[in-house]
């Protein structure tokens, strides 16, 4: 936990169909503490598919309406998938984790 929120780091190169369900479950466990703002650090993630995108949306929805999920460290391919699907209008995207934590919007 930092002043700017809880940081959850994804230790995987991909969030795809093969791990989407597991990812959603892990996010539920990780975010149980109830931080108002969760920053998902995607710096290690090089690739995401539509199932992975759906799992991130699901993770955001399971936080409930009073909590926020921000995304940080998007690789070019991950960034592209978010922009093409207009999901960049749903999430706040930060190029790096340090940029995300510099913003204190809890």
């Amino acid at each position: 936990m930092t002043d700017s929120g809880q940081i959850v780091t994804v230790n995987a190169e991909r969030i795809d169909a093969a791990i989407a369900i597991q990812f959603k479950e892990d996010m539920r466990t990780e975010t149980e503490s109830g931080a108002a703002r969760v920053i998902l650090d995607l710096s290690e993630v090089e690739f995401i598919d539509s199932s992975g995108l759906g799992a991130i949306v699901a993770a955001m929805k399971q936080l409930g309406s009073s909590r926020k999920l921000d995304l940080a460290g998007l690789s070019p391919m991950v960034d592209k998938v978010f922009r093409l699907t207009r999901m960049d209008t749903v999430f706040d995207l930060y190029a790096s984790l340090s940029e995300a934590t510099a913003v204190n919007n809890t």
Binding site: D16, S50, V57
Partner: protein
Amino acid sequence: MDLKAQLAQIENLMVDSFAFSFLATELDARSGVGSVVERLRIMGLPESRADDVQIALSEAVNNVVEHAYANATPGNVSIGCNLDAEQLWISIRDAGLPLPKENLAVGKPADLSGPREDLPEGGFGWFLIRELTSDIKYERDNGNNRLSLCFDVSKSCV
């Protein structure tokens, strides 16, 4: 024209093609698509285009894994690639259930206008494929599906 320019011209006229097949499971699809994209990179597909191919091809192959071979023992997915100076055609063949025809027609983005609890968690795949390709063809023949995706190589369309 010097030798280098001549060679470049010959290269531009050449069509490179290869085929590759793997079992339609999530993990084999992951490594299979990775191998295809790596091979295309070696063949000279520009990096930004290789990313587009990886995104679109992953969605197309995932559809085969999840829908064409749904309720059945997974069969093979065969990928054929044909790259020239202007276009890359990739065909994806399988012996599973036919593609519902409406899937090819749908290219609409997901509706993100509602409240957070109504946001879609799926249905992005076909939209991504449509956005990243310049042409799509589908044929059903003798119990086989053949989906062909075309990518412009000479210019970036996104």
